[in-house]
């Protein structure tokens, strides 16, 4: 073994090799923290935002940053006096423990009095507890588990994007109307095996009960998040012969599921519905010009609905700034910044947290997602934003390239019909009291 190097030379060469490789990987670390808005010391308020900026959900982080830049620009050109905001953004790496550490740093080192963002409901649960412990306001922009505003509700948590209850309420209404037309009876459900997937089912079932929809549940499936192979689930679904499959798979998982299912006769027998994330722009792009037939989809924001001046301006501004069209994450983050600014303005203080909480409760704010004649508002009981939702089918539409299809044939639901009734909120909270889901 004389060809092997001696210990000292070996150590030196190994260290050099590792250093070179580490240097190559270094720029990624420097992308991690982003600062927008006013510099430290000149801002009325500091907002610490957390998004995944690496990993599979990075596209949501990237679009959220772009959405927040648009919000700051809109505040600056608004004409009415607006608070100067300093926005710090860091990468959660989609890990709850890591996000909590960032949140603590934002609060204690940077003096942030607001936390915002988060794509994963699991991460948001952990950061929400941090916000409550430190008495800072958290504004959720892109996670959807209704548990956060119901069972795990506390006074410092607010959410400005549709949650799983809203989406499933719209979905249940759509399916109820479809049942009256087609008489479908057999339904299956497939969702990722974590909080968001399970809560989505609870919300769908509760809305079916509320509407009196009768159906036979022929299968429930829980693939892990980022599952590469859906073939056994697709076979099991085919075998169960549902007329409707509702899914809460999202992002690349939803696309992979559809593409794999499209190579079977799944779509010849079944209609697939995704009411919370299925109409996201990235999904539309991935569908190409031959989408599976029978898709029923919605999302937390659409580039082509509502056809209002406000929404057109938001989408066009985003496209002009970024050279691409936004996913729904952009509108959520935009709304978060606008909502915080409006609350500070209404409270007349950027430091009186209780006054800002009071200002946020019931705050009305016109957002890109609002059709003409409706204004989004925060429900004081749940701190969840109340918005209209549109569900539709996939139709050819080349106005938002590279997507060649978009959602059309809309059915629009009133915001008031999509909020959980107070009795249900009370029941879910009292059932969770004393369990791990509950930390008031």
């Amino acid at each position: 073994m004389t060809q092997f190097l001696t210990g000292r030379r070996f150590a030196a060469r190994a260290a050099c090799s590792l250093l070179v490789l580490c240097a190559a990987a270094q720029p990624l670390t420097s992308w991690a923290r982003v600062e927008l808005g006013a510099p430290a010391g000149k801002a009325d308020a500091t907002i610490g935002c957390m998004f995944p900026m690496t990993g599979r959900a990075a596209i949501y982080g990237r679009d959220s940053i772009a959405g927040m830049k648009l919000a700051l620009a809109d505040l600056a050109r608004d004409g009415t006096p607006a608070p100067t905001l300093r926005v710090l953004i860091d990468d959660t790496r989609s890990k709850a423990s890591y996000a909590v550490r960032i949140a603590e740093d934002f609060i204690h080192r940077d003096g942030a009095r607001f936390l915002c963002g988060m794509v994963s409901s699991g991460v948001a649960h952990a950061v929400s507890q941090t916000a409550q412990r430190n008495r800072v306001i958290m504004v959720g922009t892109d996670h959807a588990s209704s548990r956060l505003t119901i069972e795990a509700f506390h006074k410092y948590y607010f959410r400005v994007s549709n949650d799983s209850y809203t989406s499933m309420a719209a979905g249940a209404r759509y399916l109820a109307e479809l049942q009256r037309k087609t008489g479908w009876k057999r339904l299956a459900f497939i969702a990722p095996d974590y909080d968001y997937g399970h809560v989505s089912w609870i919300d769908l079932r509760s809305n079916f009960e509320r509407l009196g929809v009768k159906f036979e549940l022929v299968g429930m499936f829980w693939p892990k998040l980022y599952e590469p192979d859906y073939s056994p689930y697709i076979d099991a679904l085919q075998k169960a012969e549902p007329e409707i499959v509702v899914t809460a798979l999202w992002g690349g998982d939803f696309i992979a599921f559809m593409k794999q299912a499209a190579s079977t006769d799944f779509f010849d027998r079944t209609r697939l519905a995704n009411f919370d994330t299925g109409a996201n722009y990235e999904v539309m792009v991935a569908l190409g010009d031959k989408p599976p037939k029978g898709l029923i989809v919605s999302a937390r924001h659409h580039n082509n609905w509502p056809e209002s001046e406000r929404n057109r301006r938001f989408v066009n501004d985003f496209h002009e700034a970024e050279g691409r069209f936004p996913t729904y994450a952009a509108e959520g983050a935009y709304s978060g910044i606008m909502m915080i600014a409006a609350a500070i303005r209404k409270a007349g203080s950027a430091t009186d947290t209780d006054a800002i909480v009071t200002a946020l409760e019931g705050l009305h704010l016109q957002l890109p997602e609002d059709p003409d004649g409706f204004t989004s508002y925060i429900d004081p009981d749940t701190h969840q934003i109340v918005q209209m939702q549109a569900v539709g089918e996939v139709v050819p539409d080349d106005r938002f390239p590279p997507a060649r299809v978009m959602v059309g044939n809309w059915t629009v639901y009133r915001a008031e019909d999509l909020s959980p009734p107070p009795a249900l909120v009370r029941e879910r909270r009292s059932r969770a009291a004393g369990t791990a889901d509950y930390f008031p």
Binding site: S17, T54, G251
Partner: protein
Amino acid sequence: MTTLYAILIDGMIYASWLFMVAAGLTVIYGVMRILNMAHGSFYSIGAYTGASLVGWYFSGAQGAPYWSYALLLGAALVSGVVVGLLIEQGLLQFMYKRDEILMVIVTYALLLILEDATKLIFGVDPYFTFQPYSLLGRSEIGELTFANYDLALIAVAAVIGAACWLTLNRTHTGKVLRAVIQDREIAIAMGVNVKLMFAATFVVGTTLGAIAGALTAPAISVSPGIGVEVIVLAFAVVVVGGLGSIEGAIVGALLVGITRAAAVHLAPQIELFVIYGVMALVLAVRPQGLFGRDLARKI
């Protein structure tokens, strides 16, 4: 009956994928005694290069769509060989006399570095290149339809398994490799160029990982993190089969694949549990794995 054959076919498809992912890992451990934590990164590199090349090919409508399969394999071969050789020659060859645990730490560091390097090169947006997946059409077996691409993966995995086994057991190179596995120092004394053998083995292992990634790319959304996810499953398979055994990897993959398919069809709630349940059960009964051999400690 439908359930039974659905479980068998789904299990075989998943097992094929698992075996392709695990084959390179077990080959490297068998010959070099390196538990290559960076194996998932080679899977990821293969997936990214394959998806990028096929995406480019279809975006320009350069020629017959069936050439995309050649592109997938070509991308995997080139990326697996080039990156594998660079890492073996630039780093690992200086550490062969070191403890196995140190090699785990070094290859784990490599995994982290390669994951970040992949993001730097390919970005963080997902790649969707489904054309090769849908190109092969579908087959009806009984009441169910299956994607022919998935069925073809069973054949590809069988070819890879047979090639590995035949090379190790029926060729001169295989005999030399087995001599190195049995006793490295005696092999050197007999004039075997162990350094060359190690380099070749590592490159074969990394290329197998890249091929698995490239062939999986058309069925999934290729995005950061896919390498880290598969390494856990690949370890489960090789641990069940016995570290360093090709036969063990085949049996381990089949066991995990069919059990997982049975869980999906019969008890979906425990699907995640059964994969690791099988691993725990096998380790409790045979800590060295189904095909692993007890090794006497050298004093």
